[in-house]
Symmetry: C2
Subunit: 95 residues, 2 copies
DNA sequence: TATGAGTGCTACATAAAGCGTAGCAAATGG
DNA sequence: CCATTTGCTACGCTTTATGTAGCACTCATA
């Protein structure tokens, strides 16, 4: 389960999530990720590119064919996320 | 997609993954997670418990009913992980 | 040629998070 | 009383992330 160590890193799921629909430029992607520092974003993108999950095309960064499988999984994660937000015990105060 | 910020943290997916089958004690879970430092493990478990995703039963930590939905998703992540390991471009040397 | 806006990406100092080890308090069993 | 196991914390140190600034490059317009 080596992929857990990859996508388990901070911002990884978020990055892949933001790239799910359309390609995004470095700066646009950064903006979508709450302005994550470019240092980290670059590190993550480098790892994703080395893993063959993301590539830099003419219109920006986009998931590769190899990454597409995640496209079926992430929506389920969204679904589950919605269920969780409805049924979770104490919303408490998270920002 | 607040859940991404939760499970996107380091060790989160791994922790949930290790709890998928049977309950694990704090120490056992720690052992399975490459002996992650107890400080972090405790932080993560606290977050998971506050989110109502994990609880501490008689036999150790275990996912709650609310968390079970992930049980259908994580195996797919495994599947995808296996595909990825077969088809990825350059295994290179990652440790 | 130049100027301006966009791109990917890097440098730097500071802040935050994680790590490894040791150990505590409580519960359990001899 | 002692040993074992439990969940969990404290400590000092290393690693990682943050935020801001800016570089080198490309493209379009003038």
């Amino acid at each position: 389960m080596a992929v857990l160590e990859l996508v388990g890193q901070k911002w990884m799921l978020r990055i892949l999530w933001e790239l799910r629909d359309a390609p995004l430029t470095f700066r646009a992607l950064r903006a979508r990720c709450d302005n994550v520092s470019p240092t980290v974003l670059n590190q993550r993108l480098a790892a994703l590119r080395e893993a063959g999950l993301v590539e830099l095309g003419d219109e920006g960064y986009e998931p590769t064919e190899l990454c597409r499988g995640l496209g079926d999984i992430l929506p389920q994660l969204t679904d589950w996320s919605r269920r969780w937000e409805k049924e979770r015990p104490a919303p408490a105060d998270e920002d």
